[in-house]
Protein backbone atom coordinates (compact mmCIF):
# COMPACT_ATOMS: atom_id res chain seq x y z
CA UNK A 1 0.00 0.00 0.00
CA UNK A 2 1.16 3.53 -0.75
CA UNK A 3 0.11 6.58 1.25
CA UNK A 4 -1.26 8.21 -1.90
CA UNK A 5 -4.69 9.73 -2.29
CA UNK A 6 -6.31 9.19 -5.68
CA UNK A 7 -9.17 11.25 -6.99
CA UNK A 8 -11.20 10.17 -10.02
CA UNK A 9 -11.76 13.09 -12.38
CA UNK A 10 -15.05 13.47 -14.20
CA UNK A 11 -15.63 15.21 -17.50
CA UNK A 12 -18.46 15.47 -19.99
CA UNK A 13 -18.42 17.21 -23.35
CA UNK A 14 -14.80 18.33 -22.88
CA UNK A 15 -15.09 20.07 -19.54
CA UNK A 16 -14.33 18.93 -16.04
CA UNK A 17 -17.18 18.69 -13.57
CA UNK A 18 -17.11 20.88 -10.43
CA UNK A 19 -16.97 17.76 -8.28
CA UNK A 20 -13.46 17.07 -9.61
CA UNK A 21 -12.19 20.29 -8.02
CA UNK A 22 -14.04 19.59 -4.79
CA UNK A 23 -12.33 16.19 -4.61
CA UNK A 24 -8.95 17.78 -5.39
CA UNK A 25 -9.41 20.32 -2.58
CA UNK A 26 -10.30 17.65 -0.05
CA UNK A 27 -7.72 15.24 -1.43
CA UNK A 28 -4.99 17.83 -0.83
CA UNK A 29 -5.79 17.94 2.92
CA UNK A 30 -5.92 14.16 3.10
CA UNK A 31 -2.62 13.68 1.26
CA UNK A 32 -0.94 16.14 3.63
CA UNK A 33 -2.16 14.00 6.50
CA UNK A 34 -1.29 10.59 5.01
CA UNK A 35 2.09 11.86 3.79
CA UNK A 36 1.44 10.59 0.27
CA UNK A 37 0.95 12.21 -3.12
CA UNK A 38 -2.32 13.56 -4.44
CA UNK A 39 -2.91 11.80 -7.76
CA UNK A 40 -5.68 12.67 -10.23
CA UNK A 41 -6.82 9.80 -12.46
CA UNK A 42 -7.88 11.12 -15.85
CA UNK A 43 -9.45 8.76 -18.37
CA UNK A 44 -10.31 9.77 -21.92
CA UNK A 45 -9.19 9.89 -25.51
CA UNK A 46 -7.13 12.89 -26.58
CA UNK A 47 -8.11 14.50 -23.29
CA UNK A 48 -4.63 15.20 -21.88
CA UNK A 49 -5.33 18.93 -22.30
CA UNK A 50 -7.59 18.69 -19.25
CA UNK A 51 -4.54 17.82 -17.11
CA UNK A 52 -3.55 21.51 -17.17
CA UNK A 53 -6.59 22.25 -15.01
CA UNK A 54 -5.61 19.65 -12.43
CA UNK A 55 -2.78 21.70 -10.97
CA UNK A 56 -3.86 21.03 -7.40
CA UNK A 57 -2.66 17.43 -7.85
CA UNK A 58 0.97 16.32 -7.54
CA UNK A 59 0.58 13.99 -10.46
CA UNK A 60 -1.95 13.11 -13.14
CA UNK A 61 -2.29 9.50 -14.23
CA UNK A 62 -3.65 9.74 -17.72
CA UNK A 63 -5.26 6.70 -19.32
CA UNK A 64 -5.83 7.27 -23.04
CA UNK A 65 -7.84 4.91 -25.22
CA UNK A 66 -10.53 5.31 -27.91
CA UNK A 67 -12.85 3.18 -25.75
CA UNK A 68 -12.57 5.88 -23.05
CA UNK A 69 -13.56 8.77 -25.34
CA UNK A 70 -16.99 8.97 -23.73
CA UNK A 71 -17.90 7.81 -20.27
CA UNK A 72 -18.72 4.10 -20.26
CA UNK A 73 -19.38 2.18 -17.02
CA UNK A 74 -17.58 -0.91 -18.35
CA UNK A 75 -14.45 0.57 -19.95
CA UNK A 76 -13.90 3.30 -17.38
CA UNK A 77 -14.54 0.76 -14.63
CA UNK A 78 -11.96 -1.66 -16.01
CA UNK A 79 -9.35 1.06 -16.53
CA UNK A 80 -9.84 2.42 -13.02
CA UNK A 81 -9.63 -1.05 -11.50
CA UNK A 82 -6.34 -1.63 -13.31
CA UNK A 83 -4.78 1.63 -12.10
CA UNK A 84 -5.94 1.22 -8.50
CA UNK A 85 -5.03 -2.47 -8.45
CA UNK A 86 -1.48 -1.77 -9.51
CA UNK A 87 -0.76 1.45 -7.59
CA UNK A 88 -2.54 0.56 -4.33
CA UNK A 89 -3.47 4.05 -3.11
CA UNK A 90 -4.59 4.38 0.47
CA UNK A 91 -7.67 6.47 -0.30
CA UNK A 92 -9.69 6.79 -3.51
CA UNK A 93 -12.17 9.67 -3.74
CA UNK A 94 -14.96 9.38 -6.33
CA UNK A 95 -17.93 11.72 -6.81
CA UNK A 96 -21.25 10.22 -5.75
CA UNK A 97 -22.52 11.35 -9.14
CA UNK A 98 -24.11 9.49 -12.03
CA UNK A 99 -20.69 8.43 -13.34
CA UNK A 100 -19.28 7.87 -9.87
CA UNK A 101 -22.14 5.57 -8.92
CA UNK A 102 -21.13 3.22 -11.71
CA UNK A 103 -17.44 3.43 -10.78
CA UNK A 104 -17.21 3.37 -6.98
CA UNK A 105 -19.16 0.21 -6.15
CA UNK A 106 -17.61 -1.64 -9.09
CA UNK A 107 -14.12 -0.69 -7.94
CA UNK A 108 -14.97 -1.89 -4.45
CA UNK A 109 -15.65 -5.39 -5.80
CA UNK A 110 -12.87 -5.42 -8.40
CA UNK A 111 -10.12 -4.12 -6.11
CA UNK A 112 -11.59 -5.76 -3.00
CA UNK A 113 -11.60 -2.46 -1.11
CA UNK A 114 -14.25 -1.13 1.26
CA UNK A 115 -16.54 1.60 -0.05
CA UNK A 116 -18.17 4.25 2.09
CA UNK A 117 -20.81 6.12 0.10
CA UNK A 118 -22.76 9.41 0.36
CA UNK A 119 -19.86 11.11 2.14
CA UNK A 120 -20.17 14.75 3.15
CA UNK A 121 -17.16 14.73 5.46
CA UNK A 122 -13.81 12.93 5.39
CA UNK A 123 -11.14 13.32 8.08
CA UNK A 124 -7.81 11.60 8.41
CA UNK A 125 -5.80 11.68 11.62
CA UNK A 126 -3.42 9.63 13.72
CA UNK A 127 -6.15 7.07 14.30
CA UNK A 128 -7.06 6.73 10.62
CA UNK A 129 -10.03 7.73 8.52
CA UNK A 130 -13.44 8.88 9.66
CA UNK A 131 -16.09 9.37 7.01
CA UNK A 132 -19.43 11.09 7.59
CA UNK A 133 -22.25 9.96 5.29
CA UNK A 134 -25.66 11.42 4.77
CA UNK A 135 -28.21 8.58 4.90
CA UNK A 136 -31.99 8.19 5.09
CA UNK A 137 -32.53 11.04 2.61
CA UNK A 138 -30.55 13.39 4.85
CA UNK A 139 -32.45 12.55 8.04
CA UNK A 140 -29.47 10.82 9.67
CA UNK A 141 -25.73 11.22 9.55
CA UNK A 142 -23.44 8.27 10.07
CA UNK A 143 -19.73 8.15 10.89
CA UNK A 144 -17.85 5.10 9.67
CA UNK A 145 -14.32 3.81 9.69
CA UNK A 146 -12.79 1.34 7.28
CA UNK A 147 -11.61 -1.91 8.87
CA UNK A 148 -8.20 -1.82 7.18
CA UNK A 149 -6.20 1.25 6.31
CA UNK A 150 -7.57 1.63 2.79
CA UNK A 151 -10.89 2.85 1.48
CA UNK A 152 -12.89 4.11 -1.50
CA UNK A 153 -15.09 7.06 -0.59
CA UNK A 154 -17.87 8.37 -2.80
CA UNK A 155 -18.49 12.01 -2.03
CA UNK A 156 -21.71 13.97 -2.45
CA UNK A 157 -21.20 16.81 -4.92
CA UNK A 158 -21.15 20.20 -3.20
CA UNK A 159 -19.74 18.88 0.09
CA UNK A 160 -16.29 20.44 -0.24
CA UNK A 161 -14.95 23.77 -1.36
CA UNK A 162 -14.04 23.57 -5.03
CA UNK A 163 -11.89 26.71 -5.02
CA UNK A 164 -9.21 24.86 -3.02
CA UNK A 165 -8.90 22.39 -5.89
CA UNK A 166 -8.49 24.92 -8.68
CA UNK A 167 -5.28 26.37 -10.01
CA UNK A 168 -2.00 25.48 -8.37
CA UNK A 169 1.12 24.06 -9.97
CA UNK A 170 1.71 22.08 -13.09
CA UNK A 171 1.41 18.43 -12.20
CA UNK A 172 3.56 15.75 -13.73
CA UNK A 173 1.49 13.84 -16.29
CA UNK A 174 2.18 10.12 -16.45
CA UNK A 175 0.60 8.04 -19.21
CA UNK A 176 -0.86 4.79 -18.07
CA UNK A 177 -1.68 2.02 -20.57
CA UNK A 178 -5.32 0.96 -20.59
CA UNK A 179 -5.92 -2.74 -19.96
CA UNK A 180 -6.42 -4.75 -23.16
CA UNK A 181 -9.78 -6.02 -21.87
CA UNK A 182 -11.50 -2.73 -22.68
CA UNK A 183 -11.21 -3.45 -26.41
CA UNK A 184 -14.17 -5.78 -26.22
CA UNK A 185 -16.68 -4.24 -23.88
CA UNK A 186 -20.17 -5.53 -23.22
CA UNK A 187 -21.31 -1.91 -22.88
CA UNK A 188 -21.02 0.34 -25.93
CA UNK A 189 -21.47 4.10 -25.87
CA UNK A 190 -23.89 5.19 -28.58
CA UNK A 191 -24.35 8.95 -28.18
CA UNK A 192 -24.71 11.84 -25.82
CA UNK A 193 -28.19 13.35 -25.77
CA UNK A 194 -28.32 17.03 -24.83
CA UNK A 195 -31.31 18.28 -22.84
CA UNK A 196 -34.12 19.85 -24.82
CA UNK A 197 -34.49 23.58 -24.39
CA UNK A 198 -37.32 24.42 -22.02
CA UNK A 199 -40.03 27.02 -21.91
CA UNK A 200 -38.45 28.74 -18.92
CA UNK A 201 -34.79 28.90 -17.93
CA UNK A 202 -35.02 28.62 -14.15
CA UNK A 203 -31.30 29.37 -13.74
CA UNK A 204 -32.04 32.91 -14.94
CA UNK A 205 -34.82 33.59 -12.47
CA UNK A 206 -34.15 35.68 -9.33
CA UNK A 207 -37.13 34.20 -7.55
CA UNK A 208 -38.05 30.53 -7.60
CA UNK A 209 -41.23 29.11 -6.16
CA UNK A 210 -40.21 25.48 -5.93
CA UNK A 211 -42.72 22.73 -5.37
CA UNK A 212 -42.28 19.17 -4.15
CA UNK A 213 -44.41 16.10 -3.56
CA UNK A 214 -46.30 18.13 -0.93
CA UNK A 215 -48.20 19.77 -3.81
CA UNK A 216 -50.06 16.44 -3.98
CA UNK A 217 -51.71 16.84 -7.36
CA UNK A 218 -51.16 18.36 -10.75
CA UNK A 219 -54.36 20.34 -10.17
CA UNK A 220 -52.62 22.33 -7.43
CA UNK A 221 -49.78 23.58 -9.61
CA UNK A 222 -51.70 26.70 -10.77
CA UNK A 223 -51.75 27.83 -7.13
CA UNK A 224 -47.93 27.82 -7.13
CA UNK A 225 -47.86 29.50 -10.54
CA UNK A 226 -50.11 32.30 -9.25
CA UNK A 227 -47.72 32.89 -6.38
CA UNK A 228 -44.73 32.86 -8.73
CA UNK A 229 -46.47 35.34 -11.06
CA UNK A 230 -47.30 37.62 -8.15
CA UNK A 231 -43.70 37.51 -6.91
CA UNK A 232 -42.31 37.97 -10.42
CA UNK A 233 -40.59 34.58 -10.38
CA UNK A 234 -40.82 31.14 -11.94
CA UNK A 235 -41.98 27.73 -10.76
CA UNK A 236 -39.35 25.04 -10.31
CA UNK A 237 -39.70 21.62 -8.71
CA UNK A 238 -38.20 18.55 -7.11
CA UNK A 239 -37.69 15.39 -9.10
CA UNK A 240 -40.95 13.51 -8.31
CA UNK A 241 -42.96 16.35 -9.89
CA UNK A 242 -40.99 15.89 -13.11
CA UNK A 243 -41.17 12.07 -12.94
CA UNK A 244 -44.96 12.45 -12.67
CA UNK A 245 -44.79 14.59 -15.82
CA UNK A 246 -46.53 17.48 -14.07
CA UNK A 247 -43.76 19.89 -15.16
CA UNK A 248 -41.07 19.63 -17.86
CA UNK A 249 -37.60 18.32 -17.02
CA UNK A 250 -36.09 21.79 -17.46
CA UNK A 251 -37.84 22.85 -14.24
CA UNK A 252 -36.06 20.24 -12.11
CA UNK A 253 -33.67 21.46 -9.44
CA UNK A 254 -30.98 19.11 -8.13
CA UNK A 255 -28.40 16.48 -8.83
CA UNK A 256 -29.98 15.26 -12.05
CA UNK A 257 -31.64 18.57 -12.79
CA UNK A 258 -30.11 22.03 -12.84
CA UNK A 259 -28.22 24.00 -10.22
CA UNK A 260 -29.82 27.31 -9.30
CA UNK A 261 -28.68 30.29 -7.21
CA UNK A 262 -31.66 32.63 -7.07
CA UNK A 263 -32.02 35.53 -4.67
CA UNK A 264 -35.06 33.74 -3.19
CA UNK A 265 -35.74 30.01 -3.17
CA UNK A 266 -39.14 29.26 -1.70
CA UNK A 267 -39.34 25.50 -1.09
CA UNK A 268 -42.94 24.35 -0.76
CA UNK A 269 -43.56 20.75 0.32
CA UNK A 270 -39.99 19.67 -0.45
CA UNK A 271 -38.31 17.38 2.11
CA UNK A 272 -34.74 18.47 1.28
CA UNK A 273 -33.14 15.19 0.16
CA UNK A 274 -29.37 15.40 -0.49
CA UNK A 275 -29.96 15.19 -4.24
CA UNK A 276 -32.23 18.23 -4.07
CA UNK A 277 -29.84 20.15 -1.78
CA UNK A 278 -27.07 19.76 -4.39
CA UNK A 279 -29.03 21.91 -6.79
CA UNK A 280 -30.18 24.81 -4.59
CA UNK A 281 -27.82 25.09 -1.61
CA UNK A 282 -26.17 28.25 -2.98
CA UNK A 283 -29.44 30.20 -3.13
CA UNK A 284 -29.12 33.51 -1.31
CA UNK A 285 -32.31 33.22 0.75
CA UNK A 286 -33.96 29.85 1.32
CA UNK A 287 -37.42 29.77 2.87
CA UNK A 288 -39.00 26.36 3.43
CA UNK A 289 -42.62 25.49 4.14
CA UNK A 290 -43.15 21.90 5.23
CA UNK A 291 -45.59 20.31 7.68
CA UNK A 292 -42.92 17.91 8.99
CA UNK A 293 -40.76 19.67 11.62
CA UNK A 294 -38.04 17.03 11.07
CA UNK A 295 -37.79 17.56 7.33
CA UNK A 296 -34.08 17.90 6.42
CA UNK A 297 -34.85 21.06 4.42
CA UNK A 298 -34.99 22.92 7.75
CA UNK A 299 -31.34 22.00 8.38
CA UNK A 300 -30.19 24.25 5.56
CA UNK A 301 -33.04 26.71 4.93
CA UNK A 302 -32.61 30.19 6.41
CA UNK A 303 -36.23 30.46 7.47
CA UNK A 304 -38.73 27.69 8.08
CA UNK A 305 -42.47 27.38 8.48
CA UNK A 306 -44.22 24.19 9.63
CA UNK A 307 -47.54 25.03 8.01
CA UNK A 308 -49.68 23.62 5.25
CA UNK A 309 -48.51 25.02 1.91
CA UNK A 310 -52.14 25.35 0.85
CA UNK A 311 -52.58 27.92 3.64
CA UNK A 312 -49.31 29.76 3.08
CA UNK A 313 -49.40 30.00 -0.73
CA UNK A 314 -52.66 31.98 -1.03
CA UNK A 315 -51.78 34.14 1.99
CA UNK A 316 -48.51 35.13 0.32
CA UNK A 317 -50.12 35.66 -3.08
CA UNK A 318 -52.72 37.96 -1.54
CA UNK A 319 -49.96 40.16 -0.12
CA UNK A 320 -48.07 40.78 -3.33
CA UNK A 321 -50.91 41.20 -5.82
Amino acid sequence: MSADVFIVTEHLGGSLDDVTFELLGKGRDLATSTGGQLVAVLMGSGAEGLAAELGAADRVLYVDHPALADFNPATHGAALAAVVGERSPQIVLVGNTSMGMDLAAALSVDADLPLIAYATGVEHGADGLTVTSQLYAGKMHVESRPTGGRCIISVMAGSFDGSAGRGGGSPEVESYAAPASIESSRVRFVRLMEPEAGDVDITQSDILVSIGRGIQSEDNIPMAQELADALGGAVSASRPIIDNKWLPKTRQVGKSGVKVKPRLYLALGISGAPEHWEGMKDSQLIIAVNTDPNAPIFDFAHYGVTEDIFEVMPALTARVT
Partner: protein, 253 residues
Protein backbone atom coordinates in the same frame (compact mmCIF):
# COMPACT_ATOMS: atom_id res chain seq x y z
CA UNK B 1 -37.11 -12.64 -21.64
CA UNK B 2 -36.71 -13.22 -17.91
CA UNK B 3 -36.49 -10.01 -15.89
CA UNK B 4 -35.52 -10.27 -12.24
CA UNK B 5 -36.25 -7.39 -9.86
CA UNK B 6 -34.32 -7.38 -6.55
CA UNK B 7 -36.30 -5.49 -3.92
CA UNK B 8 -34.90 -3.96 -0.75
CA UNK B 9 -36.96 -3.17 2.32
CA UNK B 10 -36.01 0.16 3.88
CA UNK B 11 -37.27 2.19 6.86
CA UNK B 12 -40.29 4.32 6.03
CA UNK B 13 -39.09 7.91 6.34
CA UNK B 14 -42.59 9.14 7.03
CA UNK B 15 -42.04 7.75 10.54
CA UNK B 16 -39.73 9.53 12.94
CA UNK B 17 -36.23 8.02 13.03
CA UNK B 18 -34.49 7.53 16.39
CA UNK B 19 -30.98 6.36 17.19
CA UNK B 20 -30.79 3.29 19.46
CA UNK B 21 -28.87 2.93 22.75
CA UNK B 22 -25.67 1.81 20.99
CA UNK B 23 -25.57 5.17 19.21
CA UNK B 24 -24.64 3.49 15.94
CA UNK B 25 -27.93 2.24 14.49
CA UNK B 26 -31.58 3.12 14.12
CA UNK B 27 -33.90 2.18 16.93
CA UNK B 28 -35.97 -0.52 15.26
CA UNK B 29 -38.78 -0.51 17.78
CA UNK B 30 -40.93 2.05 15.99
CA UNK B 31 -39.58 1.57 12.48
CA UNK B 32 -41.89 0.58 9.70
CA UNK B 33 -40.42 -0.97 6.60
CA UNK B 34 -41.45 -0.40 3.01
CA UNK B 35 -40.23 -1.20 -0.47
CA UNK B 36 -37.39 1.08 -1.57
CA UNK B 37 -39.13 3.65 -3.80
CA UNK B 38 -36.63 3.20 -6.65
CA UNK B 39 -37.26 -0.57 -6.59
CA UNK B 40 -40.92 0.28 -7.25
CA UNK B 41 -39.70 2.09 -10.35
CA UNK B 42 -37.58 -0.93 -11.33
CA UNK B 43 -40.59 -3.23 -10.99
CA UNK B 44 -42.76 -0.86 -13.02
CA UNK B 45 -40.16 -0.71 -15.79
CA UNK B 46 -39.91 -4.52 -15.77
CA UNK B 47 -43.70 -4.87 -16.12
CA UNK B 48 -43.72 -2.29 -18.92
CA UNK B 49 -40.92 -4.12 -20.74
CA UNK B 50 -42.80 -7.41 -20.41
CA UNK B 51 -45.79 -5.80 -22.10
CA UNK B 52 -43.60 -4.93 -25.08
CA UNK B 53 -41.22 -7.90 -25.26
CA UNK B 54 -43.11 -10.65 -23.43
CA UNK B 55 -41.51 -12.95 -20.88
CA UNK B 56 -41.66 -13.24 -17.12
CA UNK B 57 -40.95 -10.94 -14.22
CA UNK B 58 -39.57 -12.33 -10.96
CA UNK B 59 -39.53 -10.24 -7.80
CA UNK B 60 -36.88 -11.28 -5.28
CA UNK B 61 -36.26 -10.01 -1.76
CA UNK B 62 -34.15 -10.93 1.25
CA UNK B 63 -36.03 -12.36 4.20
CA UNK B 64 -36.80 -9.34 6.39
CA UNK B 65 -39.70 -7.61 8.08
CA UNK B 66 -42.40 -6.81 5.49
CA UNK B 67 -40.63 -8.83 2.78
CA UNK B 68 -43.67 -11.07 2.25
CA UNK B 69 -45.96 -8.08 1.96
CA UNK B 70 -43.61 -6.39 -0.47
CA UNK B 71 -43.43 -9.54 -2.63
CA UNK B 72 -47.21 -10.07 -2.58
CA UNK B 73 -47.63 -6.44 -3.56
CA UNK B 74 -45.30 -7.09 -6.50
CA UNK B 75 -47.51 -10.05 -7.45
CA UNK B 76 -50.63 -7.88 -7.19
CA UNK B 77 -48.97 -5.45 -9.61
CA UNK B 78 -48.21 -8.27 -12.05
CA UNK B 79 -44.98 -10.08 -11.09
CA UNK B 80 -45.12 -13.71 -12.24
CA UNK B 81 -42.82 -15.29 -9.68
CA UNK B 82 -41.82 -14.45 -6.10
CA UNK B 83 -38.62 -15.51 -4.35
CA UNK B 84 -37.41 -14.90 -0.82
CA UNK B 85 -33.76 -15.44 0.06
CA UNK B 86 -33.32 -16.78 3.58
CA UNK B 87 -30.31 -16.81 5.86
CA UNK B 88 -28.63 -13.61 4.71
CA UNK B 89 -28.58 -12.34 8.29
CA UNK B 90 -30.02 -9.40 10.17
CA UNK B 91 -29.55 -5.98 8.59
CA UNK B 92 -26.95 -7.08 6.04
CA UNK B 93 -24.63 -4.45 4.54
CA UNK B 94 -24.98 -3.36 0.90
CA UNK B 95 -22.16 -5.73 -0.01
CA UNK B 96 -23.75 -8.70 1.80
CA UNK B 97 -27.16 -7.87 0.33
CA UNK B 98 -25.83 -7.68 -3.21
CA UNK B 99 -23.80 -10.87 -2.76
CA UNK B 100 -26.92 -12.76 -1.62
CA UNK B 101 -28.91 -11.40 -4.57
CA UNK B 102 -26.12 -12.16 -7.04
CA UNK B 103 -25.77 -15.77 -5.89
CA UNK B 104 -29.52 -16.33 -6.04
CA UNK B 105 -29.96 -14.66 -9.43
CA UNK B 106 -27.07 -16.66 -10.91
CA UNK B 107 -29.33 -19.73 -10.76
CA UNK B 108 -32.36 -18.04 -12.34
CA UNK B 109 -31.18 -17.68 -15.93
CA UNK B 110 -32.05 -13.99 -15.94
CA UNK B 111 -31.75 -11.89 -19.11
CA UNK B 112 -32.11 -8.60 -17.32
CA UNK B 113 -31.88 -7.51 -13.68
CA UNK B 114 -33.61 -4.24 -12.83
CA UNK B 115 -33.29 -2.74 -9.38
CA UNK B 116 -33.49 0.72 -7.83
CA UNK B 117 -30.61 3.14 -8.45
CA UNK B 118 -30.09 3.53 -4.70
CA UNK B 119 -31.76 3.11 -1.34
CA UNK B 120 -31.79 5.37 1.72
CA UNK B 121 -29.56 3.00 3.71
CA UNK B 122 -26.92 2.06 1.08
CA UNK B 123 -24.02 3.12 3.29
CA UNK B 124 -21.50 0.89 1.54
CA UNK B 125 -22.66 1.22 -2.03
CA UNK B 126 -25.55 0.71 -4.41
CA UNK B 127 -27.18 -2.62 -5.11
CA UNK B 128 -27.28 -2.63 -8.92
CA UNK B 129 -23.58 -2.08 -9.50
CA UNK B 130 -22.51 -4.43 -6.71
CA UNK B 131 -24.76 -7.19 -8.12
CA UNK B 132 -23.32 -6.57 -11.58
CA UNK B 133 -19.73 -7.00 -10.45
CA UNK B 134 -20.48 -10.00 -8.22
CA UNK B 135 -22.21 -11.72 -11.16
CA UNK B 136 -19.66 -10.41 -13.64
CA UNK B 137 -22.37 -9.05 -15.93
CA UNK B 138 -22.43 -5.48 -17.29
CA UNK B 139 -24.07 -2.72 -15.28
CA UNK B 140 -25.39 0.74 -15.99
CA UNK B 141 -26.74 2.92 -13.21
CA UNK B 142 -29.01 6.00 -13.06
CA UNK B 143 -31.13 4.66 -15.91
CA UNK B 144 -34.35 6.32 -17.06
CA UNK B 145 -35.08 4.47 -20.27
CA UNK B 146 -34.73 0.85 -21.40
CA UNK B 147 -35.69 -0.93 -24.59
CA UNK B 148 -34.80 -4.46 -25.68
CA UNK B 149 -33.44 -5.26 -29.12
CA UNK B 150 -32.63 -8.97 -29.45
CA UNK B 151 -29.84 -9.80 -27.05
CA UNK B 152 -29.01 -6.20 -26.22
CA UNK B 153 -30.67 -3.46 -24.22
CA UNK B 154 -30.59 0.16 -25.33
CA UNK B 155 -30.44 2.25 -22.17
CA UNK B 156 -30.46 5.92 -21.24
CA UNK B 157 -28.28 6.99 -18.37
CA UNK B 158 -28.99 10.38 -16.87
CA UNK B 159 -26.28 12.95 -16.11
CA UNK B 160 -26.67 16.33 -14.42
CA UNK B 161 -28.66 19.04 -16.15
CA UNK B 162 -30.83 16.63 -18.12
CA UNK B 163 -28.08 15.35 -20.46
CA UNK B 164 -28.17 11.60 -21.12
CA UNK B 165 -25.79 8.97 -22.37
CA UNK B 166 -27.18 6.27 -24.62
CA UNK B 167 -25.59 2.82 -24.30
CA UNK B 168 -26.01 -0.53 -25.95
CA UNK B 169 -25.59 -3.27 -23.36
CA UNK B 170 -25.11 -6.97 -24.04
CA UNK B 171 -27.54 -9.10 -22.04
CA UNK B 172 -27.63 -10.41 -19.40
CA UNK B 173 -27.09 -7.12 -17.61
CA UNK B 174 -28.12 -5.26 -14.49
CA UNK B 175 -29.53 -1.73 -14.54
CA UNK B 176 -29.96 0.70 -11.66
CA UNK B 177 -33.32 2.30 -12.38
CA UNK B 178 -33.83 5.94 -11.49
CA UNK B 179 -37.32 6.36 -12.93
CA UNK B 180 -39.70 4.11 -14.83
CA UNK B 181 -41.31 5.35 -18.03
CA UNK B 182 -44.61 5.66 -16.14
CA UNK B 183 -45.36 6.49 -12.51
CA UNK B 184 -45.23 3.14 -10.65
CA UNK B 185 -48.65 1.52 -10.52
CA UNK B 186 -50.48 1.24 -7.26
CA UNK B 187 -51.82 -2.07 -5.94
CA UNK B 188 -55.08 -1.73 -4.03
CA UNK B 189 -55.24 -3.57 -0.68
CA UNK B 190 -57.85 -5.99 -1.99
CA UNK B 191 -55.61 -7.04 -4.83
CA UNK B 192 -52.67 -7.55 -2.46
CA UNK B 193 -54.89 -9.71 -0.22
CA UNK B 194 -55.92 -11.83 -3.19
CA UNK B 195 -52.26 -12.22 -4.15
CA UNK B 196 -51.52 -13.40 -0.60
CA UNK B 197 -54.01 -16.21 -1.08
CA UNK B 198 -53.14 -17.19 -4.64
CA UNK B 199 -49.40 -16.49 -5.11
CA UNK B 200 -46.63 -18.54 -3.55
CA UNK B 201 -43.28 -17.30 -2.33
CA UNK B 202 -40.45 -19.69 -3.16
CA UNK B 203 -37.64 -19.80 -0.62
CA UNK B 204 -33.98 -19.97 -1.54
CA UNK B 205 -31.20 -20.36 1.03
CA UNK B 206 -28.44 -17.79 0.67
CA UNK B 207 -24.94 -19.12 0.08
CA UNK B 208 -22.00 -16.69 -0.13
CA UNK B 209 -21.46 -13.63 1.98
CA UNK B 210 -19.49 -10.39 1.72
CA UNK B 211 -18.23 -7.75 4.12
CA UNK B 212 -18.77 -4.00 4.02
CA UNK B 213 -15.16 -3.55 5.17
CA UNK B 214 -16.11 -0.68 7.43
CA UNK B 215 -18.15 -0.16 10.55
CA UNK B 216 -20.40 2.56 11.90
CA UNK B 217 -18.98 4.36 14.91
CA UNK B 218 -21.74 6.93 15.37
CA UNK B 219 -25.19 7.74 14.06
CA UNK B 220 -26.76 11.10 14.76
CA UNK B 221 -29.34 13.53 13.52
CA UNK B 222 -27.98 16.50 11.65
CA UNK B 223 -27.68 19.51 13.94
CA UNK B 224 -30.92 21.38 14.36
CA UNK B 225 -31.13 25.02 15.30
CA UNK B 226 -28.11 26.02 13.26
CA UNK B 227 -30.46 25.64 10.36
CA UNK B 228 -33.66 27.53 9.75
CA UNK B 229 -35.09 30.22 11.98
CA UNK B 230 -38.62 28.93 12.48
CA UNK B 231 -41.58 31.29 12.13
CA UNK B 232 -44.84 30.71 13.95
CA UNK B 233 -48.33 32.16 14.02
CA UNK B 234 -51.34 32.08 11.74
CA UNK B 235 -50.87 31.68 7.98
CA UNK B 236 -51.53 35.43 7.61
CA UNK B 237 -49.07 36.40 10.33
CA UNK B 238 -46.47 34.11 8.76
CA UNK B 239 -47.09 35.58 5.32
CA UNK B 240 -46.55 39.09 6.74
CA UNK B 241 -43.25 38.03 8.31
CA UNK B 242 -42.13 36.31 5.12
CA UNK B 243 -42.76 39.38 2.99
CA UNK B 244 -40.70 41.48 5.43
CA UNK B 245 -37.89 38.91 5.40
CA UNK B 246 -37.87 38.86 1.59
CA UNK B 247 -37.71 42.66 1.38
CA UNK B 248 -35.00 42.86 4.08
CA UNK B 249 -32.96 40.40 2.05
CA UNK B 250 -33.11 42.49 -1.08
CA UNK B 251 -35.75 40.48 -2.92
CA UNK B 252 -37.46 42.81 -5.38
CA UNK B 253 -41.19 42.37 -4.97
Amino acid sequence: MHIVVPIKLVPDLAEELEVDASGTALDTEWLRYRTNEFDDHALEEALQLREVSGGTVTAIALDAEEADKSLYTAAAKGADRLIKITGAGEKPSSHATARAFADAIAGLDADLVLTGVQAVDDRDGQNAVLIGRYMDIPHVSVVTGVSIQGDTALVHKEYAGGAMGEFEVTLPAVLGIQAARETPRYAPVGKVRRAMRSATIEELASSGTAEAGSSVTRMFRPEKGQGAKMLTGSADAIADQLITIMRDNGVNL
